[in-house]
């Protein structure tokens, strides 16, 4: 500390500073903290869903594309259209769908032809 000063002014300065220390925020500070905590808790579920959604959607899209490509490759020679091939739609006519065989035997639907 500066040698020109005696100990008393130093103590006085320390005392002034100590007395000037802020002691509280504006009224109802604890209430504002509690309100923010409640707000933070309320945001937890939507944030978690958003977090998972952002990661799951690209994976799901990639899996769907892969499956469509596989289906198209598998049925490229037999399907009527590219869409039928990609979605792996069975070839079936209305008459075949409502035939007794297809109503009572599920395998008939797949083997039915126009």
């Amino acid at each position: 500390m500066n040698e020109h000063h005696t100990r008393r002014p130093d103590d006085r300065l320390a005392s002034l500073l100590h007395d000037a220390a802020p002691t509280a925020f504006d009224a109802r500070f604890a209430g504002r903290v509690q309100a923010r905590l409640i707000e933070a808790r309320g945001q937890t579920l939507p944030r978690a869903l958003e977090h998972h959604f952002v990661r799951i959607v690209p994976l799901a899209a990639a899996a769907a594309l892969l499956l469509a490509a596989f289906n198209w490759w598998d049925a490229r020679g037999t399907a009527k259209s590219t869409l039928d091939a990609a979605l792996n739609l069975p070839q079936v006519s209305v008459a075949a769908a409502y035939s007794a065989a297809s109503l009572f035997d599920t395998t008939a639907t797949r083997s039915g032809s126009p």
């Binding site: 002014p9 103590d11 300065l13 002034l16 925020f25 604890a30």
Partner: protein, 198 residues
């Protein structure tokens, strides 16, 4: 809830989801956090936000708080880091939009009351403004050592600097404050004798 409830007990209850226990912690340490945030940032909404954020961060980390330091020191540490971050943000904004002259924190000189004494609340505001004029590093040391009465070791740990640095910054900061506050420092040192005693 009684004042005798220990910090450890309050923390254990807050960990278990007791909001009243956490509220008690907030009320118990509001003063320490306020002294840090307002001391560093001035009495502003920004300081209030830093105060709230301090307790929110503590609530998030309450499961990992091991009690290596006192709860007060832990909270003051968070508040100081958040205050320094806020000052950095403020500096970036000010550097872009505001000239340096406009950043000075000013308070009117305290006026004398009818009894010849300085108005206490004006004096406190004047002293806080003087602390606010210190540079960030010096201000942080004054806030921790003089407002919070942290030890030199605690101050060094909170600021992440050697103890010698704390002492030298404190010495320079106090010299600067003595220059700004000279009339009030001398007044208190020399003339506290009441008229009736003479």
């Amino acid at each position: 809830m009684s004042l005798s409830t220990s910090d450890a007990e309050l923390i254990a209850r807050a960990r278990a989801g007791d909001d009243r226990a956490f509220g008690e912690i907030v009320e118990r340490y509001e003063g320490a956090v306020a002294a840090t945030a307002i001391g560093m940032l001035g009495d502003s909404d920004e300081a209030d936000d830093v105060g709230q954020e301090t307790f929110i961060r503590f609530h998030r980390a309450i499961g990992t708080y091991r009690g290596d330091s006192s709860l007060k020191t832990f909270l003051v540490h968070i508040a100081m880091n958040l205050s320094l971050n806020a000052l950095r943000r403020r500096r970036r904004v000010f550097a872009r939009f505001v000239s340096r002259d406009e950043t000075e924190i000013d308070a009117p000189s305290p006026s004398l009351g009818p009894d010849g004494e300085v108005d206490a609340s004006e004096l406190r505001a004047f002293i806080r403004a003087a602390v606010g004029r210190l540079n960030e590093k010096h201000r942080a040391v004054v806030v921790l050592r003089m407002f919070q009465e942290c030890s030199t070791r605690e101050t060094a740990a909170i600021l992440g600097v050697p103890e010698g640095t704390v002492l030298s910054r404190l010495s320079r900061a106090l010299q600067e404050l003595e220059r700004h506050l000279a009339p009030y420092v001398k007044q208190g040192a020399e003339a506290p004798v009441p008229e009736t005693a003479r």
